[in-house]
Symmetry: C2
Amino acid sequence: MAEEVILLDFWPSPFGMRARIALREKGVEFDMREEDLSNKSPLLSKMNPVNKQIPVLVHNGKPVCESLLMVQYIDETWVRESPLLPSDPYERARARFWADYVDKKIYPVGRKVWQSRGEAQEAAKKEYIECLKVLEGELGDKAYFGGERFGYVDVSLIPFYSWFYGLETTANFSIVEECPKLVAWAKRCMQRESVAKSLPDQRKLYDFLLARIKKLQAQ
Amino acid sequence: MAEEVILLDFWPSPFGMRARIALREKGVEFDMREEDLSNKSPLLSKMNPVNKQIPVLVHNGKPVCESLLMVQYIDETWVRESPLLPSDPYERARARFWADYVDKKIYPVGRKVWQSRGEAQEAAKKEYIECLKVLEGELGDKAYFGGERFGYVDVSLIPFYSWFYGLETTANFSIVEECPKLVAWAKRCMQRESVAKSLPDQRKLYDFLLARIKKLQAQ
């Protein structure tokens, strides 16, 4: 049977980027459908009735929601190419822990950085760097989070790299000065075709972020 | 090698209950160590340095954190007894989605119910019932969330049943009237030894909750 793989997505979404990278790592052809979040498609509401959020992976008509679950699904479905999760249950639990940490910290704290001002923003920037340093500590001197091979934690975190320039420029701080090893890891990931093709240009994301900030300030 | 399984836990924690149930489903002997959350043990700080939160499963000296990851680890490590996650990748993604929904909704909204007052509490009660109804819709007429067999979503949700009486009594509303099928499912789960042994008495939890509410109001 011919596979039908559709990704309901929105280009600046780090969660959508995870699915794009995982599919490309596996060599799966997919149809990326850009959603207008102010006017969501009937297909999105049908495929994710609980949250009505992107991304949604629709595989042969069946929806998979939540980006980390999607990456696990992709890994378990297209098993032959590029395994993303470790095969050992303990290592798998560790990888899931760090991906969960990215969800619980990097996304919400990054949001605080660009949505706040003054003292609140200074605190958010400090917290953001602290969280990145925790991840940098876990990375250590390894090439990737899982060791020599690009895997699940890398897929989970690398999309946020595309937001770094926008955050640094709008909030006036330097991630590369604080976390040089993590930035070196990010550049290593960017050399992979799956990543380079899936992450938008940092300057395009900066423009997007600037427009969001202006809209927020006008409210 | 003799297995050493330690669970760093706190008796009212629904997250700790998940690990207890999963271990008992698998017939794994474990040493449950009660933590004093106002004076956490050095072992807890060592085993979960990132969050310093219970529960932590320590298996032969190695820590696994985050309750849902713990249940998956238990399922993948002691594979022979009572499989908890479905074997099909799509069904597995669905089960993970609903367990994630429990984490994102039932816990934080339940917390809003007992921590708020007046109009905010009315809104929280309404939201809590709505979330339970979404889960009841997913359960449908099945015996368990996965069908005929007790599994991952059941393990994830059933601990919150032990809080129902406390929530209903302190916030003055009836879950059983609104969600009779879900309560019938909970009673079905309670007939399992793994669940009955792992959930504290609802009245003991009510006393615990009342003390927490009084402390909150005194602040």
